[in-house]
């Protein structure tokens, strides 16, 4: 089945198309250059630390300071860096926020598509779109001015402060504030994608199930949600990518200490401050003029970029069954 394109050869390959081809090549090339540049700039830090880069050892903030001050003209640069507290912080905050957001987004998406009365659907859809487009710095500002004082003054007791005292200071900036706000930030992204996926489910499949006498709630979860699974994966991937790369809001709310919150501390652990990979880059961008510090920051960026690429790959893989399903429908 060939498409009918009258000017495919000769005149069809006009300047316009050639220019566009070049443009595509340039953008693709730029992205590959980005990967190469970042990895190249990151290499000294990885090669000096080996796998220990991802491990624990010493205080990461002390290491960062030592790396920064070693970057002058005379002394030999230091590279010792063990990023575990930063990795743990990012994984913990992202993981918990995405899990909470996933659960609530699924319910909201199902609600919007099938169960909400028309007036409420008319309100919810623009609301979700607005929540998704509020800049992260505004979320951060609201968190700093409302949530952090609330947690710091009312939820954290003196005993709790004293119990972790010599190690870390509980001030309201910490996991709880970060996770709550991040959940609110990524949930709208998930809801939007989930809603699209659920809407694409053929109506007659659901009606078939309804005809069997299964109630609407059960039918929708058994049929529609199950069919839209690829969309659920795609939305989750998109939201996770956003959460992983979030630097600004987290640098405002998670507390600026390179500390790995310890779940063994019980519930207090939720109040403990930490600093993730992305916010560490943001915190230290003023130190880019010190060469070893520059390499270390690019190493952190490389880890983030690698995770993002892996995630988009996962998202692409998750979309493939969707395409097949689209053809069936």
């Amino acid at each position: 089945m060939d498409e009918y394109i009258p000017t495919e050869r000769g005149a069809g390959w006009s300047q316009d198309q050639r220019a566009e081809l070049w443009l595509v090549c340039i953008v693709v090339g730029l992205l590959i250059a980005m990967l190469v540049f970042v990895l190249h700039a990151a290499w000294p830090s990885f090669s000096h630390n080996g796998l220990g880069w991802f491990g624990t050892g010493g205080r990461v903030d002390g290491q960062i300071q030592a790396i920064f001050t070693s970057g002058d003209l005379k002394s030999t640069p230091l590279y010792v860096f063990h990023a575990w507290p930063l990795i743990w912080s990012t994984a913990l905050i992202t993981g918990v926020a995405v899990v909470i957001a996933f659960g609530s987004s699924l319910f909201v998406a199902v609600f919007i598509v099938e169960f909400a009365p028309d007036w409420l659907r008319g309100v919810l859809e623009p609301v979700v779109r607005l929540l998704a487009s509020v800049p992260s710095v505004i979320y951060g500002l609201l968190g700093v001015l409302i949530l952090v004082p609330l947690i710091g003054n009312h939820l954290i007791t003196q005993q709790e402060k004293a119990s972790v005292n010599p190690t870390v200071q509980l001030s309201g900036y910490g996991l709880l504030a970060a996770i709550l706000v991040l959940t609110i930030m990524v949930a709208p992204i998930m809801i939007a994608v989930f809603v699209n996926g659920l809407r694409a489910v053929p109506r007659n499949w659901i009606e078939g199930s309804l005809a069997l006498g299964i109630n609407r709630w059960r039918t929708f979860w058994m049929v529609a949600v199950r069919t839209a699974r690829p969309a659920l994966v795609a939305g989750t991937v998109l939201a996770t990518a956003r959460a992983l790369g979030e630097s600004v809001m987290l640098s405002m709310l998670s507390g600026g200490v390179g500390f790995a919150p310890n779940p063994a501390d019980g519930l207090i652990f939720l109040f403990e401050p930490s600093r993730g990979l992305a916010s560490t880059i943001l915190f230290n961008t003023d130190e880019l003029s010190s060469p070893p510090m520059q390499h270390t920051l690019y190493a952190i960026a490389a880890v983030l970029l690698f995770s993002a690429v892996m995630l988009s790959f996962a998202g692409w893989a998750a979309k493939q069954p969707m395409k097949r399903y689209g053809v069936i429908a």
């Binding site: 920064f68 003209l73 004293a162 005292n165 010599p166 200071q169 600026g256 500390f259 130190e287 003029s289």
Partner: protein
Amino acid sequence: MRSSKKVLAALTAVVVVLGAPAAAIARTTIFGSGSSAEQPILNLLFKAYSKLHKNIAFAYNPDGGNAGVKDVQKGRSALAVNTRPPLPSDSGTTQFKIFLDGLCVAVNPANSLGNLTISQTKNIFLGLTTAWNSVGGSNLSATIDPIGRNSTAGSYTFFQSAVLGGKTQASNVNPQTSDGLVATAIKNDSNAIGYVGLAHSQPGSGVKTVSLNGVACNQTTIKRETYPLFRYIWAVVPTAHPSVPVEKFIDWVRVNHQAGLIISRAGAVPAFNK
């Protein structure tokens, strides 16, 4: 596509038309960077100097004193302002004392604490003293919340060498990215203690300074250099190719009486060519 091209063309035209006549005015811009603690004072000095010398303008990037020195070493700034004495790692730079400041130790006004010794301060910031009831003179008994600066800050390096004996501050010290933030954190937390430049502990800042080894932190004691944490603020310029306008400006700050007046009004102490 077509319309966006038109918009681009129009924009280019605007840039060309508006850009052309302004090129005639020749102005030297001095690019500086460094201490955020001293930025309010520096801004006043820049403004006064630009008024005197119409052809000089300033652009200042408050990225932290230590970062400022690195900028000068790399040639990105013609002038850096730092709040700690020169270190061996500052190679390739020449540094001048421009004025005097003190690093005040401050607590919340709700705290009755009036005096600390240097070693008491050291123990607090190393995490060895953790509760106010083990600090004499305080009416509080709760956990101490120490507030400090981050490692790009000259204040941090100064505090580290002058109080902590070169050690790194404890992990329970809450690092802030500017002196103003330290002051705010102390204002909002009755159990807090922190270190800030003199200008940030003025009346109205919501913090209370405590005496160190029995000497109060104010302009008089700093001028007499009796306050233990008095410090010179340093102007850092590249040794290899110093810029002449920058050196003239530094001389003006160091010796001129109008500059001295601005400095003392802003809450620091003029050094007058020391």
